[in-house]
Symmetry: C2
């Protein structure tokens, strides 16, 4: 199989790399040059008509897109250590926190990136006022995660999971585009430090 | 257990109702009056600090939020008929199409609803130009789903799944807020007619 990806700071390919590192699976990425818009080329769109990475191509040519769907596929192939939970409740909790990382934090982060960041301004039409308004949503999302992390080592409960991977990559991307995590958010900062200290975080 | 929900046109509680109807599970909703902002009350926020519905409360007081996470919990409790796939590839495909329904279609639909619809204008500050710009993204998403549905009975492959539920409720909500499915999109319209003919769609 082939895993199409791109180097950091792209948060989605990194989510898969961290996931595979935690699983101990060695699958080097086939790099797609986003600066050259290779992900929007007809060749790549034949693999993923949305022109997005990561995309996983199986040996029979079947392709799987969407980061979490790709990781879920690897979870089935390599169940140990479990990163999507084991019991019904654990599975629901991991899914809930994956989705909350995406909807509560990643959505305003992407909207800021898409509509207010100078890098994107060169590529696409922006609605700048709207884009800037997402600073406040991002700040409020960070405060909310900080409250929710009170007394917890990991986002979705007692064990490291896909939810921690999603929040980590989102937070790092937010920081990279200038949306910093305030120093006052001790729970979120402490959690970030613990998760970043895992060898997988270097992926 | 208690399932907190709200009647149509709210798309998220409906996703859970359709899911339970397909599973043959009888669990009446405990209604939360969104017009009275009951979902934002301190009592409800003690169950879901984001103040969102649906939320599932287990008998020991544990709560699960996020529609797909709630459905995934029920999938574990009632595996038949499978609605999240059975093999590794099926599970990945259902997840991929659930997420594509949400990211490709639901995101611009919600942004239009949040920033351009008169109902929301009365409640929140809107960025109208940005909101209106989502009409085009919704139209383009519908055309993309139409192309992808060519020759397929169901969104995620050979069987009805959670992905069909997600696309159905999103499309119906889009139509309800004035973002209609063009008559020219025969694949999408045909799929919509087939899925809407299932008894569960009335849920």
């Amino acid at each position: 199989m082939k895993l199409y990806g791109a180097p950091s700071p792209a948060p989605n390919p990194r989510r898969v790399r961290i996931f595979l590192a935690e699983k101990g699976v060695d699958l080097p990425e086939t790099l797609v040059d986003m600066r050259k818009r290779e992900h929007k080329s007809p060749e790549f769109r034949a693999k993923n008509s949305l022109g997005q990475i990561p995309t996983l191509e199986l040996d029979d040519g079947t392709t799987i897109s969407e980061t979490v769907a790709i990781c879920r596929y690897f979870e089935e192939l390599h169940p140990t250590p479990p990163l999507f939970g084991q019991t019904a409740l654990e599975k629901a909790m991991v899914d809930m926190w994956v989705r909350r990382s995406e909807f509560v934090l990643m959505t305003p982060v992407s909207m800021f990136w898409r509509h207010a960041h100078p890098y994107t301004a060169a590529l696409l039409t922006q609605f700048k006022d709207f884009g800037e308004s997402n600073r406040e949503h991002v700040a409020s999302a960070m405060r909310w995660f900080d409250r929710e992390l009170e007394g917890r080592d990991y986002l979705a409960g007692g064990a490291f999971s896909m939810a921690d991977i999603c929040l980590l990559t989102t937070l790092d991307f937010a920081n990279w585009i200038g949306l910093e995590t305030p120093g006052t958010l001790a729970n979120l900062r402490g959690w970030h430090e613990r998760i970043s200290a895992r060898p997988s975080a270097a992926a």
